[in-house]
């Protein structure tokens, strides 16, 4: 199977994530779209890892470990980000980013 299929799938998922970030006003959905973009990149890294393994490189485990670290960073980011969103919801009673764009008050 050509690896181009995986490239196109990852591009599609990444661009859907970008469209979601640009189109939606809900801060939680924007967060989920960022997760979607991270996942598109992860999928491409795993596909390239398999591609290099099949091409005879033996050190291709690094890509999968990189995906592992991306997952670690994403988990940390989500915990802090959701805490920030909850705090802002308590202060402003909204998660609309048009209201959240005024950081003060």
């Amino acid at each position: 199977m050509p690896v181009q299929y995986y490239i196109f799938l990852s591009i599609a998922l990444f661009c859907i994530g970008i469209m979601g970030v640009l189109m939606r006003r809900n801060a939680i959905i924007i967060f989920m779209c960022i997760e979607l973009m991270l996942n598109a990149v992860n999928l491409l890294l795993v596909a390239f890892s398999k591609m290099w393994v099949d091409a005879g490189r033996i050190d291709a485990a690094s890509a999968q470990l990189f995906v592992f670290f991306v997952m670690v960073v994403a988990a940390a980011e989500v915990s802090v980000g959701l805490a920030i969103i909850v705090m802002m919801y308590r202060n402003t009673h909204s998660v609309d980013i048009n209201i959240l764009s005024r950081l003060k008050n």
Partner: protein, 164 residues
Amino acid sequence: MGIDMIIFTVLSAIAIAAALGVILSKNPVNSVLCMITCFVAIAGHYIMLNAQFLFVVHLIVYTGAIMVLFLFVLMMMNLNADIEPQKRNWLKYAGAISGGALLLVLVAALRDASVPAIQSGAPTDIGLISNLGKTLFTSYVVPFELSSVLFLSAMVGAVVIGKK
């Protein structure tokens, strides 16, 4: 068209349809459920690519932890009603057009990239936990320890921010 191509097509269709459902559905809870579907499809891709450890970690961390956290926050703040104002439609069109333009540029740039193909039938044990663990604890010990510091700071940050 082999069985792997059929599985790839089905999983990709599910993933893209679910991703579109995330950004198009009005109810945020539906968005989270679509996102879970998308993540399960991506996990299926991982197991098609011989990344068994990442398959399990992806299911546990993303589908089991992160998405449930999103769902908890949505339900705790009682956001399942549609609160998004529908004015300013041109912003949506501008976002869709710019995302589509990026899609077009990336596809056009990478269409003719000369890369080796994936042999779907060839089994590899590189995604098994023993291989990955050996590489992780020999070449990548320092990033591993640094990520533990990152997790600790994230935990403290979440508690401090959430307590106010």
